[in-house]
Amino acid sequence: MANTKVAIIAANGSLFDAYKVFNVASAAAASDAEVGIFFTFEGLNLIHKEGHKNLPLPEGKEHFQEGFQKANVPSIEELVGIAQEMDVKLIACQMTMDVMSLEKEDFVEGIEVGGAASFIEYAKDANISLTF
């Protein structure tokens, strides 16, 4: 999978969305793919310094909390760390940040900030493109 490029858009902010994004991203990075994630709108929650530690379960799905513990899945905090350790590129959407009055400092360390055009430039030769 070296020479494979994966481009992911994360546009939603629940705990379920976070697992979808970071599990696929870490699995791809562990398989030697180059991975970039563009976080936009609610997706910004997934890398928000405080927010990502306490993401909400989707409404009506709160009972899955127990299942997460039982299945011993890593926390989103851990997964973000693992993704960064494996050089997954995390890009926060500038426009959403402006709308929500967020600064780069509001996010986990090591992120990049970019616009839609930077994502398109990154994704133009991606082998796998995913939207969550």
């Binding site: 870490s26 398989s31 899945v73 693992i82 494996m86």
Partner: protein, 75 residues
């Protein structure tokens, strides 16, 4: 089967067995063998796919008392 290193990934859920396996195999030389132990049922197909994508070789795999074991030769 003999292994140069043994990775205990029992009790870990997806994607951790793959992530740990990647880290463990980085420490080996080409041709050396890593034994991975996991209880995540998804590991069976995941390890096989990961081995393929990384250019390694799955020498053998077993399943005993819900523990999956894989012997991977580094490519």
């Amino acid at each position: 089967m003999e292994a140069n290193e043994v990775l205990d990934a029992k009790g870990l859920a997806c994607p951790m067995p793959i992530v740990k396996t990647k880290k463990a195999i980085e420490k080996l030389e080409s041709g050396e063998v890593l034994e991975v132990q996991a209880t995540d049922k998804g590991a069976k197909s995941d390890i096989a796919a990961w081995v393929k994508s990384g250019g390694h070789e799955l020498l053998k795999d077993t399943e005993e008392n819900d523990v999956l074991k894989f012997w991977i030769k580094k490519g």
